[in-house]
């Protein structure tokens, strides 16, 4: 039995999500191979070869994989998948984009967002915004699985020395073209893997007020997140949304500021180790999941907090 893990990377840097996915593969058990599909992705492939527990790295280096367009990357993975018992990818927006396309081309069901491995064919995954956890068993000949990275510790990025093997590109499907992207560059840690996350909600009232959270975050080495309401109102960009339909985070410390705690928001953060809620409404549902709740006006609390930490 061998498992194929699809690497998340931007050609130069291997994303941390790849490491969590390798841990999920280790829990299943078997030889672990990593596919790095990209363009000019040697650095990412070399990083993948160093992951502890990986025995082989497959590299498909071609301009058509530069942005991992699903129309092009899915046939590549399908061509390789036949030799594997499992195909795993992180449940990133990238993985979510191409992996179901792979599953359908293989004519197998996909299991999305696993948070635990119970056996080689049995997995746990949240449903209904995390209000229920299903244990599911798959009899598919190739098990296609996306991995919720917060469910698995990262594998060690050092210690491995896997062989790197080039694989041929599968050709351009010619149906989609990458036109551009707007990706915010920030010196703050990545939301998905930060140890501390500070999120703001509708209570922040404006984009300018988020500056208070950025200042506090920089003092704590934290990432900044947001509720859907804050994103919809245009206070912050979409990639900051935490929740059922945004990013899933599970940091050591999550500080919710001016967030009411709707189930869709809780779904994205309630596995955090310590939760702090700052809200002027003592009845806000966020207090039901908070380890430390502070009832107060965020415009007084946050500046004071920034002084004291």
């Amino acid at each position: 039995m061998a498992i194929l893990v699809i690497a998340e990377h931007d050609n130069a840097v291997l994303a941390a999500a790849t490491l969590n996915t390798v841990t999920a593969a280790q829990a299943i058990g078997g030889d672990i191979h990593v596919l790095v599909a990209g363009s000019g992705c040697t650095a990412a492939a070399e990083a993948a070869a160093k992951i502890d527990g990986v025995s082989k790295v497959l590299v498909a280096d071609d301009a058509i994989y530069a942005h991992q367009l699903p129309e092009n990357i899915a046939p590549l993975i399908v061509g390789l998948a036949k030799g594997y018992s499992h195909v795993l990818a992180p449940a990133s927006t990238n993985g979510k984009n191409y992996l179901p396309r792979v599953a359908a081309l293989l004519d197998v069901d996909q299991i999305s967002d696993i948070i635990a491995v119970e056996g080689a064919d049995t997995f746990k995954r949240p449903i209904y915004a995390g209000n229920a956890i299903a244990t599911v068993q798959s009899s598919a000949p190739i098990k296609v699985i996306s991995v919720r990275t917060t469910g698995f510790d990262p594998a060690s990025a050092q210690g491995g020395s896997a062989a790197i093997e080039q694989v041929a590109a599968a050709g351009d499907a010619g149906k989609s073209t990458f036109l551009g992207e707007e990706v915010a560059k920030s010196d703050r840690p990545e939301l998905g893997s930060a140890k501390i996350v500070i999120s703001g909600g509708r209570g922040m009232l404006s984009s300018d007020n988020f500056q208070m959270l950025y200042t506090l975050a920089d003092k704590l080495g934290a990432a900044v997140g947001a509720s859907r309401a804050a994103v919809d109102a245009g206070f912050v960009p979409n990639d900051l949304q935490v929740g059922q339909t945004g990013k899933i985070v599970a940091p050591q410390l999550y500080i919710a500021v001016g967030i009411s705690g709707a189930i869709q928001h809780l779904a994205g953060m309630k596995d955090s180790k310590v939760i702090v809620a700052i809200n002027k409404d003592p009845e806000a549902p966020i207090f039901q999941v908070a380890d430390y709740g502070l009832v107060g006006d965020l415009f007084e609390v946050i500046p004071e907090l920034e002084k004291l930490v």
């Binding site: 449903i127 599911v136 149906k175």
Partner: protein
């Protein structure tokens, strides 16, 4: 975009030679997003008895986008399709009240996986030959986030998932997508599959006259057998449990107390 192409896109919009663009929208009947579901005591599933059911919110966004394309005269006809129990007619009628032209229910009481749903939708696509298929990015019950991508695979169409903006342009469509790092823009050849994200639009409410009119719009009922699709699934649900409860927390009286607790008790800062 080149000037020539821009001009042709404009003339399409104004002269309406895009009038042939048929849009298919897939809508799912799900537990209303305000309901906090409970797990059944025997761990066989969640308790759906007497629970409010609605159209999946991402499907509302899909219907709204189709209606806007029709209002811009980019789309000519909107066909809404649902796969589910007889009661899913309610959600189809809602979609018709919002601006759909006709509806198809593929009636089944089985709880289908995304692959089976995608296969049924593929059969409907084969019959209807739409230029654009719009789905939600995720059903808020299964939280699968698979069906649109699978339908794209089965039809061989390109996919624009997690869309926050669509710009039809002749035989192509430009899709702005919400991705982990921000936004990505891709151009897809039509026919194509789109899945909606939250920022694509803000769905309207159906007006009373439109709800009345929707009752007279055509709604066909098919069975999966009529479409010749096998619904077998390789996934078995062994049990469904409630998530682990968090132990109750405390209220702190001041910022100073909060900082003290975080430093000395939780040791997280």
């Amino acid at each position: 975009m080149s000037l020539a192409r821009f001009a042709s896109a404009q003339s399409n919009l104004f002269e309406g030679d895009e009038e042939s663009m048929k849009v298919l929208v897939a809508v799912k009947r799900v537990v209303d997003y305000n309901v906090k579901v409970r797990v059944k005591p025997d761990n066989s599933g969640v308790d759906l008895a007497n629970v409010k059911m609605s159209m999946n919110p991402f499907c509302e966004i899909a219907v709204e986008e189709a209606v806007r394309l029709k209002e811009k005269k980019v789309a000519s006809e909107i066909v809404v399709v649902s796969i589910g129990p007889n009661a899913a007619q309610e959600q189809l009628r809602t979609a018709l009240a919002l601006g759909g032209d006709r509806a198809i229910l593929v009636e089944t009481n089985d709880e289908l996986g995304s692959l089976a749903v995608a296969k049924l939708l593929k059969a409907v696509v084969d019959k209807e030959q739409p230029q654009l298929v719009i789905l939600g990015k995720q059903a808020i019950d299964s939280d699968n986030n698979q069906t649109g991508q699978m339908l794209a695979a089965l039809t061989g169409y390109p996919q624009g998932t997690f869309a926050s903006k669509l710009e039809a342009d002749g035989d192509k469509i430009k899709v702005t997508r919400e991705i982990d790092g921000g936004l990505q823009i891709v151009e897809l050849a039509l026919p194509a599959v789109i899945t909606t994200d939250l920022r694509l639009n803000e769905p309207r409410y159906a007006s009373l006259p439109n709800i009345m009119k929707a009752k007279k719009k055509p709604l066909d009922i098919l069975k999966p057998e009529d479409l010749g699709v096998s619904l077998s699934s390789s996934i078995k649900v062994l049990k469904v449990e409630a998530p682990a409860e968090r132990s109750p927390g405390i209220k702190v009286a001041s910022v100073a107390e909060l900082v003290e607790k975080l430093k000395n008790e939780a040791k997280v800062i």
